[in-house]
Amino acid sequence: MTTQSPSRQAPVFRRTHSLVLSANVLFAVSAIGASAQSVQLQRQLTDLSGYYAFPVSSRRDSRRERFRSLAQQWRRETQWVSSTTEAAMNPAYQAIIGMGAEAIPMILEDLRQNSGHWYWALKAISNEDPVVPRDRGSIKKMKSAWLQWGETKGLVRA
């Protein structure tokens, strides 16, 4: 888990507040006598400033945490299950599929480190299947095929 230290977070928040404050001041001053369209544009500028001021890495971390939590829940709830369908229909697994394309690098990394039957999710999200028919069910070969697929696309490190 990547945890940001307070010494790294503090400047980010100061910068964030500073940017949002600047936008608000700009909005307040320029709103005097401005047209409705201009006011609306200023509001959008304020929103955008706030959005882009937050580091993308923080948003990724929260998604990564959500993925880890869901993956753990899925493993715990389906460890005794032989049915591929039942394992894939597990609510935690479905929630991971619901995360869409951004989940693929996290799934591939988890697959590389911990294994696990991630193949249904990978196929459902990517709409691709690099496993040749004769290797279906051969977990080692399926894992290898999907990791190679991910490496080719730059989604997981080699």
């Binding site: 460890q79 394992a87 069910g137």
Partner: protein, 149 residues
């Protein structure tokens, strides 16, 4: 974690399972499941999933029905329906179904009359016939036999 601890943890899903009516025989292995293990295959995960992810015998309908599972084991020679008693010269597999009627699990009879099961991605165990009955796997719907090879 000892097998005793594991059994205690499993009893929520397998209320009949005890350390007296079961014993562990392998470590965790995600490479095959109970359906494969009953067919004596440790190289593939068997399941007729609609996504076509896992192995299913060719020429058997890829559907989660008891009939499809009976036909899958038929490809391995298990064609005679029977009961769970031990009979010299005959090998048996048992297919479990949930209350929905969907297959959930399979076990293979051993020479001492106990049954060999792979528990999902988890361990292999040997157990008495009714030890796995319960909310996780339901109960045995069909026992099939073939002449011992």
């Amino acid at each position: 974690m000892t097998f005793s601890d594991l059994v205690r943890a499993m009893q929520v899903r397998f209320p009949n399972l005890t350390v007296e009516n079961s014993r562990p025989t392998s470590a965790y292995d995600e490479g095959y499941n109970c359906i494969a293990w009953a067919a004596e295959d440790t190289d593939y995960w068997w399941w007729p999933d609609v996504m076509g992810q896992h192995y299913w015998p060719p020429d058997v309908p890829r559907e989660e029905t008891l009939d499809a599972f009976v036909r899958a084991y038929g490809m391995k020679g298990y064609t005679q329906r029977c009961d769970s008693t031990m009979e010299p010269g005959r090998q048996k597999v048992a297919i479990y179904v949930a209350s929905s009627g969907k297959p959930t699990h399979a076990a293979r009879q051993l020479l001492d009359g106990w049954w060999a099961s792979k528990l999902g991605q988890q361990i292999d165990i040997e157990h008495e016939f009714a030890a796995l009955d319960g909310p996780a796997y339901g109960s045995v719907a069909v026992v099939l036999a073939r002449t011992a090879t």
